[in-house]
Symmetry: C2
Subunit: 190 residues, 2 copies
């Protein structure tokens, strides 16, 4: 997606060779016009998959997931929870997920009543790095016995290997911007 | 907002007299059709305020904030962060916020470059209980020297006092459903 790549080049900041900071438009301040175009693009790519629900993980995936839903007939969005709150009664699917930028490991949870074998799920997230969050969400879809239509990612950092892990399992992956390296202070797209 | 009240009565669950569980449509699974109508309603109520940015807090406020932005000319949405990530370089406004349902205290942060004296801010959140999160966000708006147009809340639990604190400071508060009690397993609206 050319518009997104241009925005990454103009407003993204490389912190070393591993971390791409895009908090001015994607995951702290959110440019809703850009997110609308990203949502439209995901909706076009998955429009024939009869998606019944979108699954994401708090917090940065929620904006893209909700706007994509508006373009896909307003299917429900579920965001996996990273912390247990006193309002979380009932039974949950769970998966352990390690955060690359926070250095923490969380048990992410989805209430069992929200996904079942009758569902076709689209997983959405803002970043794909080592594939930890995506693997956790894929595990939850599998535990629920639902069909997985694919994984939709805004920015994939290809050199961290998460994308290969997903495609090696035969799962469809759609990434709108694929960064193949950030060496010497420059961002290179595939 | 009648549609929202009906949905709370049909799908909300009271956990004791303090906690209202609405995770099937608002803050775990999200009914995007309902959120679109909520966003429209907030946009109508604040359409003459020349809002330049919407401020919310991760995670449950993000969906409502983003959909409201789509109805308010796609103004940028900023969500305050609860955890510090390695990608958070630069200077931040900060405020301490206690979570009612999680029993934790977090320092919430907003990058200083995203809000300034030229902004008119609309604060949006899913719940208003004791007013901890709203107070933190109001403090951040004040630290930035921005104008605060008001606070827009999906569900206010009036009996926990957060709404009174905001209105006593002369700040405009718009709550779409105001719960005045949850005694004896019944939800009563004002």
């Amino acid at each position: 997606m050319e518009l997104l790549k241009q925005r990454i080049l103009s407003d993204g900041v490389e912190l070393g060779t591993e971390i791409l900071k895009v908090d001015s438009f994607l995951n702290h301040q959110i440019d809703i016009g850009l997110i609308r175009q990203i949502g439209n693009e995901f909706a076009v790519r998955f429009q024939n998959e009869n998606i019944t629900k979108i699954l994401t993980i708090e917090s940065s995936g929620i904006a893209v997931a909700c706007v994509t839903s508006l373009c896909l007939g307003e299917v429900p969005v579920i965001f996996a929870k990273k912390e247990k709150a006193s309002s979380m009664t009932g039974e949950y699917f769970g998966a352990q997920v390690k955060s690359f930028t926070k250095g923490t490991v969380s048990m992410v949870r989805v209430n069992k009543s929200f996904i079942g074998p009758e569902d076709t799920i689209l997983i959405i997230d803002d970043f794909l790095a080592h594939g930890e969050a995506a693997s956790g969400l894929i595990s939850i879809v599998e535990q629920a016995g639902a069909k997985l239509a694919g994984v939709a990612i805004v920015i994939e950092k290809e050199f961290q290997g998460g994308g290969k892990k997903i495609k090696d399992r035969g799962i469809r992956l759609e990434s709108l911007a694929v960064v193949c390296s950030m060496a010497e202070g420059k961002i290179h797209f595939r």
